[in-house]
Amino acid sequence: METISSTIKLIVFKLKEKEYAIKVNEVLSIEKVNHITRVPGTEKFVKGVINLRGIVVPIIDLRSRFDLEEASYNENTRVIIAVMNEIEVGLVVDSANDVIDIPEDALEPSPEVIGAEVADYIQAVAKLDSRLLILIDLDKVLAIEEAS
């Protein structure tokens, strides 16, 4: 048996019944949805800003970002506060309820065609037993398209 020398910690969340994951070191906290203040004149997937303990944080709806059909927010809806390159954002997901360690070699960098619309934002996929986790690429999620 090989020893698991390097594992990475992922936070697993769901979007439209599929499981996605984000690296735990990119996540500051997970919050419930509070009042979101709409910011006019921004991209469709930017739902607005929230007050996170005195800091104004913009909110991105991941369903909308991935061009999935939007759903109304409910009990299970969570906001994952993520940070990258000093940019802090909240990602709205259907639910977030799992933190797992996976060996680094379980990650397969070349994404197969899982759902073409999401493909752009995939960093890697991980197969764990029967589960398939899609590791999102936060950098690309946050990138603002030139066209806008």
Partner: protein
């Protein structure tokens, strides 16, 4: 030895000394004969040399040392001050500044200074020319001269100055012991005892320790502050045996007057000087001074942040108490609000910095520019003591540099041109800061050529900034403001000095991003004035909260003129816009629900509209909202790094109920 703990102090003080050098050098240039100035510069350089040698910055010490030599030669009238010499000295100060900058940003402060050192050496050696003459002068000077042979540092000077103000005399007592004196230290002790009985000893030369160790020949001198007369002091001293001679001179400081002027800064540095043994003895006659401490600006920022949290909670408490309608609670909350308003004032004041910190680098720059452009320019600075929030100070430097360069390059004419126009050859640029209400005004005016309207219009047309139709109805102000459009440059000659047309629009953007405005007034032939209006502070502002459908927005009070209720039938329709007649002025209406694409959740069939009249410069607009919520102090928060450049939104704030409200940027709404 671990020096890092002193590094910060070293950098701060070095900067202060260099700034002082700069200012004094400029003055010296105006009054080359003023040796007091040279003395002061010398002292600054001397301190700098000592500090940098201690800290181990050799290049810095080397250069200051050489500069000091030149200054010393000037001071001793071995060389005459001329602009060539000053240029080299200025150059060395520039180098020194660069080195300090490098140290401040974590570098090693090393730099190749050989060239400047060489130049300084040449100047120092160039005394051959009028050496004979100056030697004669020297001798003459020395005989009538009561200048002290002892170097006093700032601290000692302060004591001397202060005692003088209190009516004490300062004497330099030269004491010569007999040649066969055996117990020199004992005699020194006795002399000190006599002197201390009659007054306070400020300084001795050689130092006290050296005297105690008998490290001197026959004579030593002591500076003493006393209310005794010269003669009685002398006779008291002569009573001590083995003393051959006592010479008492009244101390006459060559730098006395300037020192009094500079009193504030000296008192300031006094606090940072290492405590000397003399301090205890002099304490008794020292005037009570304003005690200051240096606080890291970061700590003030933290304080400010904490206070901002408090303001948000205060808003929340006010709201809760209103809902609960409990009188005791309401009274307490009101009281707390008042106290926190006082607290706010104090904290904001602590963050205030005099604009001087920005202004004082301008004289040098103007001097250089004037030389480069072969113009004669006199820069007058008025109101440098006006205070501004540090965040504003940090940002305001570059725009001001730009406007000054603009005034000097494009505004002021060449001396020949000025002469032909019957103006004095020397152009005047006035930089003026003052305080009025909640705003700071900064004006830059020159007595140059002024702005040629036709030229601006032609340029604007050719650059496609305006069309011929638009051109017709423009007021004078509007024409001037065209200068601030991007892609506009009026200078026919593109020079290195002021921009390539990328300048003034950047100036305007910077100032508007600070919540300020900039405008121009000009009188062709007689010069122009650029006026900048800035808010006192950026972090907490007063705002009007309004509701549009079910969204809340904040409008900064600074841009609001008043609020009005307008009847629907009073709205006039022009071809493309709805306007109202507001006190005789036609004011266009801005429907935020359209601009911000707010969902029409409920139909509007109200007879009246609530309108907030806002202004930008002298343009007005009416923002149509659903209702006014009220006026409130709000804390400005940025939208973060992700949402940048949101149209017509300048930031966000957190309301009493914890929700975020966006702050409307009226400047963007009014075109």
């Amino acid at each position: 030895m671990e020096m890092s703990q002193y590094l910060e102090v070293f950098i701060e003080e070095s900067k202060e000394h260099l700034q002082a050098c700069n200012q004094l050098l400029l003055e010296l240039e105006k009054n080359p004969a003023d040796l007091q100035l040279v003395n002061e510069i010398f002292r600054s350089a001397h301190t700098l040399k000592g500090m940098s040698a201690t800290m181990g910055y050799e290049d810095l010490a080397n250069l200051t040392h050489q500069m000091e030599n030149v200054l010393d030669a000037i001071r001793n009238k071995k060389i005459k001050v001329d602009s060539h010499i000053l240029d080299v000295v200025f150059l060395s100060v520039d180098h020194l500044e660069a080195m300090i900058e490098s140290i401040a940003s974590g570098g090693d402060g090393k730099m190749d200074v050989t060239e400047v050192v060489q130049k300084l050496k040449i100047i120092e050696d160039g005394k051959g020319l009028d050496a004979v003459q100056s030697a004669q002068e020297d001798a003459l000077e020395q005989s009538k001269d009561s200048y002290s042979a002892i170097d006093y540092d700032d601290y000692e000077m302060t004591i001397i100055m202060q005692s003088k103000e209190l009516g004490y005399n300062t004497y330099e007592v030269d004491i010569t012991l007999t040649e066969d004196c055996l117990l020199k230290a004992a005699r020194v002790y006795m002399v000190f005892e006599v002197l201390e009985k009659n007054g306070e000893i400020v300084k001795s030369s050689p130092s006290t320790t050296e005297l105690e160790e008998e490290q001197f020949e026959q004579s030593f001198s002591v500076t003493v502050v006393t209310n005794e007369e010269k003669d009685s002091l002398k006779s008291a001293l002569l009573k001590i045996s083995e003393i051959e001679n006592v010479e008492i001179k009244a101390f006459n400081s060559p730098v006395q007057e300037t020192n009094i002027k500079a009193g504030a800064s000296i008192v300031d540095t006094e606090n940072q000087k290492p405590i000397r043994s003399e301090e205890e003895t002099v304490q008794s006659i020292k005037q009570p001074t304003n005690k200051t401490i240096r606080v890291n600006i970061e700590r003030l920022d933290i304080l400010m942040n904490l206070f901002e949290e408090l303001v948000i909670d205060r808003g929340r408490l006010v709201q809760i108490s209103q809902e609960l309608n409990n009188q005791e609670l309401q009274e307490t909350v009101e009281h707390m609000s008042r106290i926190s308003a006082d607290l706010q004032n104090i904290i904001l004041n602590m963050r205030m910095v005099p604009v001087e910190t920005v202004f004082n680098r301008f004289p040098r720059m103007v001097r250089q520019l004037a030389r480069d452009l072969h113009k004669k320019i006199n820069l007058e600075i008025i109101g440098a003591e006006t205070e501004l929030d540090r965040t504003v100070i940090d940002e305001i430097g570059d725009p001001l540099v730009h406007l000054l360069r603009n005034a000097i390059d494009h505004g002021i004419e060449t001396p020949e041109e000025r002469r032909s126009k019957g103006k004095p050859e020397e152009g005047t640029v006035i930089l003026k800061a003052y305080h009025s209400g909640n705003h700071i005004f900064i004006e830059i005016s020159d007595d140059g050529a002024g702005i040629n309207k036709d030229q601006i219009l032609r340029k604007a047309l050719s650059k496609g900034i305006i069309t011929e139709q638009e051109m017709v109805g423009l007021s004078q102000q509007e024409i001037y403001n065209l200068i601030f459009s991007s892609g506009f440059s009026t200078a026919d000659k593109i020079s290195d000095v002021s921009g390539r047309g990328v300048g003034l629009d950047v100036v305007r953007n910077t100032i508007e991003s600070l919540g300020g405005t900039v405008s121009i007034d000009s009188n062709e032939g007689n010069g122009s004035t650029f006026s900048i209006v800035l808010p006192l502070t950026l972090s907490i502002i007063s705002a009007m909260l309004v509701e549009i459908q079910n969204e809340k927005y904040a409008i900064p009070l600074s841009s609001i003129i008043e609020t009005a209720i307008v009847k629907r039938e009073d709205i006039l329709h022009t071809h493309s816009q709805q306007v109202i007649d507001f006190r005789g002025k036609v004011v266009p209406l801005i429907f935020l629900k359209d601009i911000f694409e707010i969902n029409h959740t409920y139909a509007e069939n109200e007879e009246t509209l609530s309108v907030v009249i806002v202004r930008k410069g002298d343009k007005l607009a009416g923002i149509v909202v659903n209702s006014f919520i009220g006026q409130q102090e709000i804390v400005l928060k940025s939208l973060g790094n992700y949402l940048t450049n949101v149209f017509a939104i300048s930031g966000a704030t957190i309301l009493g109920d914890g929700q975020v409200a966006l702050i409307i940027d009226c400047n963007a709404l009014i075109k």
